[in-house]
Assembly symmetry: C2
Homo-oligomer: 339 residues x 2
């Protein structure tokens, strides 16, 4: 039976949501896996006691320290060895757990994963991707979104290769398609490192390691042209944060306009309510919750990073994601491909 270690203290809604998500995961999965919940006993125990966990494969482990969202990653990893975050990853390294899940400080989780688990042999730099909205079926992932800056062409190509394996094996996609985010569609466009990356991606395509459709531009991101969009972490991180800020920005224009229409009698309150719901629903493709989290691809172990705002459903999805990655041998396939 697989054992997934879960950071009870990670995320804005921790430990409440993490405890609830864990309990639901075990119930929903018919106890097919074991969860090792790690956190501060005085905070987590009372929450666990609210549930009947006697029949569940649920163990608790005390960790006195907590890595906070404002901790500086490199320092936290060194000074908070007794945190749930570092302990969970250490258990993975010692093979006492098969994977680790946390909605805590992303930077700290990446730093600790790299430090504790190390890289899969052949991997130059592990990477983090993110989900982007798209119309219709399939999914769009942008890689990298902040784990790596100053990326070299060979880094970007590995990101595409690793994510191709993940999408094919773990996400069950027939044919993941890679596009290179650039300033124009033509082959000779953009900065030098992207011209070189273009050539390396073409070579990887010829070797059937990826399916490369060439350069794509910013206005192609939402158009479902590629399931994997490759870029430097500065570009991906900026796009991700910009995209996440849009619903609130537009809401702050739309909502007062609707309220004004109601006040002036041009729109009845019931229609306004329906309109507001439709407006909110429009941003569902922007909702990260449905995906839960993302794996830190390329580290020698299973380390799943969740959004700080993760709900219990997100926690559940992250635990299943860890299970799935292990069962589908994603890391083994990455090691074979990049050896």
């Amino acid at each position: 039976m697989l054992t997934i270690a879960v950071d009870a203290m990670g995320g804005d809604n921790a430990p409440e949501c993490v405890v609830e998500g864990t309990v639901e995961t075990l119930r929903e999965s018919g106890n097919r896996l074991e969860v090792l919940l790690i956190g501060q006993e005085d905070k987590v125990r009372p929450l666990l006691d609210q549930h009947d966990t006697s029949s569940l494969n649920l163990r608790f482990m005390h960790a006195p320290e907590v890595v906070t969202m404002t901790d500086i990653p490199a320092i936290a990893v060194k000074t908070k060895q007794n945190s749930s975050l570092v302990r969970g990853l250490t258990l993975c390294r010692e093979k006492k757990a098969d994977g680790f899940v946390s909605a805590g400080n992303t930077g700290a989780l990446m730093a600790a994963s790299l430090f504790v688990l190390g890289r899969i042999p052949g991997v130059l730099r592990p990477t983090i991707y993110a989900y982007f909205p798209r119309l219709g079926p399939g999914l769009t992932n942008i890689v990298d979104v902040g784990a790596n800056v100053d990326c070299k062409p060979e880094n970007l190509v590995q990101f595409a290769e690793m994510l191709t394996i993940y999408q094919r094996d773990a996400a069950g996609m027939d044919k993941p398609v890679t596009g290179l985010l650039n300033i124009g569609e033509e082959e000779n466009k953009g900065p030098e490192y992207l011209k070189q990356t273009f050539n390396l991606l073409k070579e990887a395509d010829r070797k059937n390691r990826i399916n490369f459709i060439g350069n794509i531009e910013g206005n192609d991101i939402l158009l479902s042209k590629a399931s994997i969009i490759v870029c430097d972490g500065l570009v991906g991180n900026t796009l991700l944060k910009f995209g996440e800020s849009i619903p609130k920005f537009l809401g702050s224009i739309f909502k007062p306009s609707i309220e004004k229409l109601v006040k002036s009698g041009q729109l009845d309150p019931k229609s306004a309510e329906i309109t507001a719901q439709t407006f909110k629903a429009m941003f569902q493709p922007f909702d990260v919750e449905q995906f839960g989290g993302v794996p830190f691809l390329g580290v020698d172990g299973i380390s799943i990073v969740g959004h700080g705002r993760s709900s219990k459903t997100a926690i559940m999805n992250m635990i299943f994601m860890a299970e799935h990655m292990i069962e589908k041998k994603v890391n083994q396939h990455i090691a074979e491909a990049l050896a």
Copy 2:
């Protein structure tokens, strides 16, 4: 009297919109400037003949060739010397015109401006900025948005300095504020070239050449934190194109939802119509028309670039922008600052 050369053939709506915008400009300005309209005689003359231009300071000049939107910039500049685009800029160099305005092929206009007009002494690389939406008063410009990739720290600092001068002198802003687009707020964040840029921007701030507020992130762009956001052209271009694709993307989710509500009787047609108008109005801050175009900052002359979709109002705004830049001596001030 100032003479502004206008590319009659530039833009998706040319020459119709350009002719109309030109005529309106002269009428609205009380003939305080002269416009030299350049384009293919058989296309432009019939349109001019629809107006009574006898009292206007409007001259027409025939140019047999046209640079199209799909022309490759570097090639177009060399092979289409008799195009309205190259001729207009050449007139500026020969001091037969004081500025040039075009809504045509942006890449070609940049290449031709650089080739024909050259750089202001001291300017390492001319640059193009773009307007981004913001709440409340003021404006947000991102620089560079595609004229320059592989930017060096000293390029990025000059972009901030040039745009500070433009915003202060031509846009009449009291205190333009510069932010550096990066992966995190802390000083030591991001790629190497941005760490160096950070230090150079701080130095420029100490010398009162700019007002630097430090690093800002993707989610800060819409928050009116800075009037000048500095980044490499790859990042700015990607953000610009991504942002421009959002209204259509969201509309393709929102509109069918509203139509469905009308069909099912949950929303009456009149409320749906009002809602649709409110939705459309929400994107007004994304509307480039109101600004018209942007100057190619750093070239030794006045070269205003408009969006391909420029309306007659946009053309008018671009002509006034050229006039304003000349009157406010923006290029002279850039030359003095960067000498």
